[in-house]
Structure formats: C-alpha cells, structure tokens
C-alpha cells in the first residue's frame, strides 16, 4: 500500500471522521484515498476546501465539536496552514496535520526533503507554541504513528504534526493494520461546543486581552509542553551498544543511514544509529547519555543542518559532532553515507 494511503487508512482506523484539505503534490493520493474511504462511512466528512487557509480553519471548527480531525499538505501548503495551527495551539484544539515535505524554499520542487524541520519543531506559526512532531520512517510506522498522533492530540489537546516526505508518501511497502477504533468508544471530551444545554454557554477562543490572563495561559501551555517532554519522547537505537560512532537521522534519512551503518559494520567500523521518532519533544537526555559513550556523532539530514542544532543543544561538548546533508530533494545513497562514516573512522582512528 502506498504511504499516503497508509496514513489515510490508519487515520480512519484511529476514528478520524473529518478531513479537510487542498491539493498539492506530493500528497494528493492522501485526500484522494480519504474521499473514497469516507464516502463509505455515514458519520464521516470529507471537504476539498478552496485553499489551505480554508482547510485548516474548517478543521478548527470541526475540532471544536470534538471530532477527530486531520488535514494534510506539503511544505508551501503547510506554511499557509500555520495561521490555523497557531490558533488551534492557543485554543488547545486537537488535530493531526500531515506534512509530506518537499524541497524549498518557496515553490521549491516536489522531491523528498526534510527542509521543514525548523518550521515543524519550533511551532511554525506565531505566538511561541509547540506541536508534537512525529517522524515515521517505514510503511508500518506510518500506521502506528498516525494512530498514535490522534491519541496524543486528544490527550494533550493540541495539534500533532506527522512529518514525512515525498519518498515515504509515495513508496509502497507491505503493512498490517490493527482493528479499527470505534469513535463512540473514545473518551468523551468535556470542553467541546455542544450547545448550552443544562450548563453555562461555552467559549473556545485564543483571544486573551488581559496580559495577566495571557501570561497564565502561556504558563499553562508551557507546563503541558514540559509534561510531554518528560512522557512522550521516543527514539530507536540501532547497533549502539558497542558503537564508537553514532549516526543521528530521522525519517527517510534514517532509513538510508541504517543501510549505511550496515555497510560500515561490514568494513569493521562500530557504527550505530540513533533515530529520533519524536522530533519535538527531541530525545535530548537519551542522546546526551549516548554522547558520553560514542565520542563521535554524525548527523545526517535531507537539508543543510536543522536537527543538527537540537543535537548540538543536547550533546554539548560530550562528543564531536559532524554533519552531512543534501537539500533540495537529493536522496543520498546508503553508500554515500557509508563513505562519510568510513572517512570519519579513518580520520579519528575509530575502531
């Protein structure tokens, strides 16, 4: 099954019943699948909006009613959606936002890229908020992380970003799906717009004109983000037990890096892979611990060094940090990365 279809199906299985989006390559297969899938469900709504702006705001309205909602787009479209994402972060509305990244800036191209790491992990829009950012690297992880995204969004009442790229969106791999979640069995949301019956009328808004109240709200969000950092950080270690050099990579780049690590191992180099699954919160503590053991870290990204900054913040001076990156939609081969690892091993006399 194609990656974009896997996300759409997994969302449906997670109980998502509301989708609004606008066409943009390379993620068009997702809304196409969703429109057909939702047509078969009586309680589901699919809307092709007139713009990304409209799509995210329609999603905002649907989320206010308590529905599990999703939108998807690619880099330029995600920029347009930042308005709504900021509002939803402020109003504490759950939503799942899929970004199938392409090369940029501007219109860029439609090739796979990881150039939106900064935008995704720093909130993206105005107002100093965060979104949880999940980075799937395989077809099967598209299933698990898409479904998990909905749970996280509901638990913490915030937008969750699923950050993929054109390669993972287009690629077909065999996957297995779990049993569907019945939306009726999900925990009831007590904060929704549901009509002022037997209670005071309710308001969902991000406007807080009083600076004291605004500050309180910002602190509330900050405490929530702190809780998420402590509880939800996820990463995958690969061949790290005896490693002298660790590659740090996420998503598609991590896939390529895994192949590179295997090749380097064949050359007798003790290389391993540290793969962040949550990009925000970033697995800082775990990476810092690793840095105390490996001495050399190679960050590999399909951009010119964005996660690199988080690695530097986490590692400090615990290990030497090296970087290799290809922006603009170039897909490195496992051999290319293996060659970088091998050179580093020779230069620093790693065994």
């Amino acid at each position: 099954m194609r990656g974009s279809h896997v996300i759409a199906e997994a969302a449906t299985l997670a109980g998502c019943r509301f989708y609004a989006g606008y066409p943009i390559t390379p993620q068009n297969e997702l809304p196409e699948y969703m429109s057909g899938r939702f047509a078969k469900l009586e309680d589901a709504t699919f809307i092709q909006a007139e713009s990304e702006l409209a799509a995210i705001n329609i999603l905002m309205g649907a989320s206010m009613t308590g529905a599990r909602v999703m939108t998807s787009s690619s880099s330029p479209g995600i920029s347009l959606k930042q308005e709504g994402i900021s509002y939803m972060a402020g109003m504490e509305l759950p939503a799942v936002i899929v970004n199938i990244m392409r090369g940029g800036p501007g219109l860029g191209n439609i090739a796979p890229s990881q150039q939106d790491y900064f935008q995704a992990t720093r909130g993206g829009g105005h107002g100093g908020y965060r979104t949880i950012v999940l980075a799937p690297y395989s077809g099967q992880e598209l299933v698990t992380l898409t479904m998990k995204a909905f749970d996280l969004a509901d638990t913490y009442r915030m937008p969750v970003v699923l950050l993929g790229d054109g390669l993972i969106g287009q690629m077909m791999e065999p996957v297995t799906f779990p049993e569907p979640v019945d939306p009726a069995t999900l925990p009831k949301k007590e904060w929704t717009l549901s009509g002022a019956k037997g209670r005071d009328s309710r308001l969902i808004a991000s406007l807080l004109l009083d600076p004291v109240k605004m500050e309180q709200h910002n602190w509330k969000l900050a405490r929530k983000y702190e809780t998420i950092s402590q509880r939800e950080t996820a990463y995958e270690p690969y061949l790290l037990d005896d490693a002298t050099l660790a590659v740090v990579a996420f998503g598609t780049a991590a896939r390529i890096a895994k192949g590179a690590v295997n090749r380097a191992r064949k050359e007798g180099i003790k290389a391993g892979l540290f793969r962040p699954i949550t990009l925000w919160p970033f697995p800082e503590t775990e990476l810092k611990t690793l840095a105390g053991k490996v001495k050399h870290i190679l960050v590999f990204e399909m951009n010119l060094g964005q996660m690199l900054e988080d690695v530097r913040l986490s590692v400090g001076t615990e290990a030497a940090i090296h970087f290799h990156g290809r922006p603009g939609g170039i897909i490195s081969t496992p051999q290319e990365i293996a060659d970088v690892i091998i050179k580093l091993a020779y230069r620093h006399e790693l065994d």
Binding site: P26, I110, A111, M171, M172, E173, I256, K258, I331, T333
Partner: protein
C-alpha cells in the same frame, strides 16, 4: 547473506509500466521478502512517461531509490536513452523489441529483447504486453517464482473475471517461454 535487487520499469503511460512494478512487488511480498515500490511522481508523471523502482531484499530495505539498478525493463526508446547508462555492470536490460529502435551501446550488460506487443497481439489481447514482459523478466532473473507472479496477477485483477486471468496467465507463460528459448 544480503541479497538486494533493484529493478526499474520505464515506458509510456498506458503501457502498464507501473502495473508491472506492482505485480513484481506483490509477488515478492507473497514470498515473504522485503519489498518497496517507488513510483516516479510529479510533473513527469503527467507528461506521458512513467517509471517505478522495485526493491526486493531478504533484509530490511534502507533506500528504495535505485541509483544503479540491477535490472531495467525498458518499454520504449526514450526509456533506453534515459536508463541504459545507469544499469549496474553485469546487469540485464529487457527491451520491448516491438517499440525500441535503438540498441544499448554498453558491452558490460546483457540485453534481452522481447517482442511483447507481437506476442500479446497473437494472444488476442494487446493490452497484456506488460504481462508478457513480466514473465520474461522473472524467468530470466528468478527474482520471484513464475507461479507466484501468476497468483499475484490473479489476485490483483480479481474483479476482472476468469477470461482476463487466463489471458494474463498465458501472456506471463509465453514471455517466460520466449526468454528460456532465446536468452537462457
């Protein structure tokens, strides 16, 4: 031992290029191998040409992209010009003999020419030319077994009925037979 093979399929839109890739990927999956199907997408897809890359491996696949494919199935002349130079030394190129009017110049690759349109025409269904080619590819390379391919095709076209399935099965077998006779 690691065995990882990459096959590129390329041709005009409408020649069933993506379907060939899908059949191969599905067959690999049925044989419990790791598979990845990566279609070329974007502007070029709308331009009338199509290509896809199939990776089949006995261990998890690092990159589904093929810089240097082991095999290339080239259904028209532009595809030959585009992919001939990329095939790995010692690799095999499969040409649609009915439509390709150039020969690869390289001497370090094997060239298999199959008149897939003619064979399909004789079978009474010109549209099964891609099935002839997949039969030829599998018979020559042993990427998956011929019977798995036949079963996968039956499954993929389950809604099309018995007659279509019989033609497809015939096309796959004739493609295989052609290669076994001419390029053993």
């Amino acid at each position: 031992m690691m065995t990882i093979t990459k096959t590129i399929f390329s041709g005009f839109g409408g020649q069933g290029v993506l379907m060939m890739g899908y059949v191969l990927a599905t067959s690999g999956m049925h044989e419990d191998k790791h598979v990845a199907y990566l279609p070329a997408y974007g502007a070029e897809v709308r331009g009338g040409t199509a290509n896809c890359t199939i990776t089949i491996s006995n261990e998890p696949i690092a990159s589904p992209v093929a810089s240097f494919p082991d095999f290339a199935v080239l259904m028209n002349t532009p595809s030959v010009l585009r992919f001939e130079g990329k095939v790995k030394a010692g690799g095999v190129v499969f040409l649609n003999k009915d439509l390709v009017d150039v020969m690869p110049k390289r001497s370090d690759i094997e060239v298999v020419q199959v008149p897939v349109n003619s064979i399909a025409q004789n079978l009474g269904n010109p549209r099964s030319a891609n099935m002839v080619m997949i039969g030829a590819l599998v018979a020559k390379t042993g990427l998956v077994s011929l019977s798995t391919v036949v079963e996968s095709v039956k499954e993929i076209f389950a809604t099309k009925g018995l007659k279509v399935h019989e033609i497809n099965a015939q096309a796959i077998k004739q493609g295989a037979a052609f290669v076994q006779k001419n390029n053993p």
